[in-house]
């Protein structure tokens, strides 16, 4: 994550550097009207990743960044090590991309319905493969029960303890609503 404050500080530094390059002249006729100076600037990131839950607003408009050209990489370029899973991985990538672009395609619908069905039967967590399956639940306690079971199975199969390093509670939530 890059904090908005950090971005503003960087803009300030680049502006100062631009002044210094031009011999200490502050303001005046800059090479670049954005104030970022005489440098090419390329930002890379996944704007669809949610930021950590903090007291700050998760999305902030920076007028400066709105002047940037915006390009999107959509195609899956991941190197597939297990050739047998290529199709499955490609499909999963397509589904995630469609979801992120708010496109309720057939594959998205099938995926979500399938995930609900997987989580619906009692005891499926005991038999669910540890690769390739995602389950969705209507209630938090069902999800917790699934996670407990899968965590236990993973720790058993890999012969080490799996620890939960953090629990997150939404702002304003109290009690056990993790």
């Amino acid at each position: 994550m890059m904090d908005v404050d950090a971005f503003q500080s960087i803009s300030g530094v680049l502006s100062d550097a631009d002044d210094a390059r031009r011999g200490g002249v502050t303001g005046g006729s800059r090479v670049d009207s954005t104030g970022l100076g005489d440098v090419h600037m390329l930002l890379f990131g996944d704007m669809k990743q949610l930021p950590p839950a903090t007291g700050k607003a998760p999305f902030v408009v920076l007028p400066l960044v709105q002047t940037f050209d915006f390009r999107v990489l959509r195609q899956n370029r991941r190197v597939v090590q297990d050739e047998a899973r290529r199709e499955e991985i490609e499909l999963f990538h397509t589904i995630l991309t469609d979801i992120s672009h708010c496109e309720p395609t057939k594959s998205v619908r099938d995926f979500i319905v399938g995930a609900y069905v997987r989580g619906a039967s009692v005891g499926t967590a005991e038999h669910s493969p540890l690769e390739g399956n995602t389950a969705v639940f209507t209630k938090r306690r069902y999800r917790d029960a699934w996670n407990r079971c899968v965590t236990r199975r993973i720790s058993k199969s890999h012969n080490h303890t799996v620890k939960i390093k953090a629990k997150v509670r939404a702002r304003g939530q109290r009690g056990q609503n993790w």
Partner: protein, 209 residues
């Protein structure tokens, strides 16, 4: 010795490979073949590496079309060679080749002797940006811009002899990785919130780049 495990990619990258391997960890004795520093690639080898990466970026487009990666790469290097200062944000979700694109453009800058700096918000993200045997690497934002905990920079541009100041004054290209949520494209564009005029159209027009 700092070892960065890239579990997601199933590989390992050693941040300071040139210092040899840990004795305590049983990875080696620090003097064997494995501990030798990687030879720096010369100019010709850098060019060959760049061509190889360009070839990889061209491959794998749907139905023989250009890949997104190659199209954006071409646009970037064309702009870098031109007089206008490029301001570009590349949105890429996991597995779409964002880091490969970033390091390839960085490599292009090295081949074309263009001074550049790459930075990322965290050490882990910065360690992810590197190409073995080259100067392609990144540091944290705090390191590059000498930021304190309040995000105030301590760089003094009246002292160009200071290493960090000199590097920024020389810099022609700045790469910022993991620069997410500085802009609510997600709300105004893809999710139909419409809070920021113009950006949603921008997103839709360019999303296949």
């Amino acid at each position: 010795m700092v070892t960065t495990i890239e579990a997601e990619r199933g590989g390992e990258a050693l941040v300071n490979e040139h210092e040899g391997l840990d004795v305590e960890n049983g990875f080696g004795d620090g003097g064997g073949d494995d501990a030798r520093p990687l030879a720096k690639l010369n100019a010709r080898q850098l060019e060959e590496l760049l061509h190889e990466r360009e070839r990889q970026m061209r491959q794998g487009g749907p139905d023989g079309e250009e890949t997104d990666q190659w199209r954006v790469y071409k646009e970037i290097v064309h702009a870098l060679a031109g007089p206008t200062r490029l301001r570009m944000m590349v949105q890429a979700s996991a597995g779409t080749g964002k880091s490969f694109l970033l390091t390839s453009v960085y490599l292009w800058c090295l081949v074309n002797t263009m001074s550049c700096i790459a930075a990322a918000p965290t050490g882990i993200a910065a360690a992810n940006i590197e190409i073995d045997g080259t100067d392609v690497c990144a540091a944290t934002l705090h390191n590059v811009f000498d930021l304190d905990s309040e995000y105030t920079s301590n760089l003094d541009f009246s002292k160009p002899g200071v290493e960090k100041v000199g590097a920024i004054l020389k810099m022609k290209v700045l790469f910022l990785d993991e620069a997410r949520h500085v802009q609510p494209f997600i709300l105004c564009g893809a999710w139909g919130g419409g809070q920021t005029p113009g950006t949603s159209d921008k997103l839709m027009d360019n999303r296949s780049a």
